[in-house]
């Protein structure tokens, strides 16, 4: 089973991203589970959402303490939230920022990857909404989910032009991070 934690701020769509990831993983033939860090959500406040992906039905109901992957929507969170908390040593942290992993100086044994998802979102969607874009980066960085499944999940959730634009941005982020990995 793989466990993913998504950090964001209230209003950035972290919960939606976790849900879309679970839909995409199911599309890939896996079982999945997505849930928010149950709290009193407020716009702008730090929030978390979680996804589990497994080959067998998921019974576990506890929170996620040792994620395999972490996605960070907003690099300003690094100042106040320990985004690397509990991550497995062989895990990966994907952060939306212009900076390089070296510049971030994150204290963790996990692999850190960065992607300027805001730039991708502004160019393609025209708004700084990065939750779906980062799922494309996640697919490219980890291979845990098929990028086509993510695009399909997004297009089913958001109809028409919004869905199309998001799918395009997802593909762009996927390609960007694949180039980085190569």
């Amino acid at each position: 089973m793989k466990e993913i934690r998504i950090h964001g701020r209230g209003g950035q769509g972290s919960v939606t991203a976790a849900e879309m990831l679970s839909v995409a993983a199911f599309e890939d033939g896996k079982f999945s589970q997505a849930f928010p860090a149950f709290g009193v959500e407020r716009r702008g406040a730090p929030v978390q959402a979680f996804t589990r992906i497994s080959d067998v039905p998921i019974r576990l109901r506890s929170q996620i303490y040792a994620p395999d992957y972490v996605i960070v929507q907003d690099a300003t969170l690094l100042e106040t939230v320990d985004v690397a908390s509990g991550i497995k040593d062989d895990g990966t942290i994907i952060i939306n920022t212009k900076e390089t992993p070296e510049e971030l100086k994150l204290e963790t044994k996990a692999k850190v990857m960065t992607v300027d998802a805001t730039k991708v979102a502004m160019e393609i969607i025209g708004r700084p909404i990065v939750n779906t874009v980062l799922l494309g980066a996640f697919a490219g960085a980890t291979g845990e989910v098929n990028v086509d499944s993510i695009r399909k999940a997004i297009k089913e959730r958001f109809s028409g032009k919004v869905g199309e634009k998001n799918a395009e941005a997802i593909q762009k982020a996927y390609d960007l991070i694949r180039e980085r990995k190569a």
Binding site: A34, F38, L60, R61, Q63
Partner: protein
Amino acid sequence: MAINVADKDRMVVVEGSYAVAHAAKVCRPNVISAYPITPQTHIVEDLSQFIADGEIPNCEYVNVESEFSAISALVGSSATGARSYSATTSQGLLLMHEVLFNAAGMRLPIIMTVANRAVSAPINIWNDHQDAISQRDTGWLQLYAEDLQESADMLPQIFKVAEDKDVLLPGMACMDGFILSHVYAPLVLLEQDLTDEFLPTYDPENVLDPANPMSFGAFAAPDTYEEFRFLQEQAMQKALPKIEAVAKEFGEIYGRFHGGLIDEYLTDDAEVIIMAMGSILGTIKDVVDEYRARGEKIGVLKVRSFRPFPQEQIRKAIKDAAAVAVFDKNISLGTNEGALFTETKSCMYNSRCDIPIIGYTVGHGGRDIPKESVAKIIEEAKKVASSGITVESQFLDVKEELL
């Protein structure tokens, strides 16, 4: 099996609340009442959307001004013979308390989903079972679901039991707030055609009808009141075999079985048995699988029906264990015990079966229960099996530094 892997092609990924709202829809309710304010769930929101989209024929959605009115409206509608449904939680359920007795006393098979949450004060919106457990003597059936699929599947089952002419009692289909209500996972949305086959139209003998006037819940003096209470208890006892039979029939039609009154997981040869209700069972089973992989004989007893309480089935399931540990997401203050623990001990007394049983009250106000906590309790139960009880009942993980 609760999640049937063979069903995968028919599954969709949806929120637990949506799955339950959809299940309520295919049960063809005639009246839904709701007070859509915090604490509530998406269940009544999704149902109001179904109504607005014309997807629930012959159904009235009553937007009321409080939870007290929500249940009061259903007492009226159910008495006219309408299949009546609502969903509530926490303080909302507490505000209904007085009317819950009325619904049961008038023998009205109203069904509510209760998304179990803690109660105030202090204010807390997270999951535990204190809200529903505090209603245990109101005369409502209470079933507890383990996962999202069961939360949905439970609705046609409990409607069928409640509306049975030998039962005629209201019922709560309990699901863990947030942990099940706000989670997305793959499941099968209940099919309309199968539900029509499984759940017949509600057709009560006695209804409020101007053409044939009668009254419900009228005056009963000391010379008759006791008999009303006796008949309610008798109806509860009659519900016991019905819950089993209906769960089995559901399995035959839909292909899924979540247990009847109880469900046993690896209990046959178990030296230690863990008992619980609700979603924590999933985590417990994962931990028990790890123990089993090491050759340790641990089993799990899921209690699905809390009202009526399946004394005979529980006795039979645990009688050969060397020790039993009970998880309760509630506490009866003043006893230092959770309700499932107290009642399990009670049903073993006078049974000539003296096995040690310990209790833990866990998960208060949404305190997370990681696998390590489950393992800690299993270790304690193993010690009890070999050297007896030292502490009979306790809180699981009180933070001393906060006291």
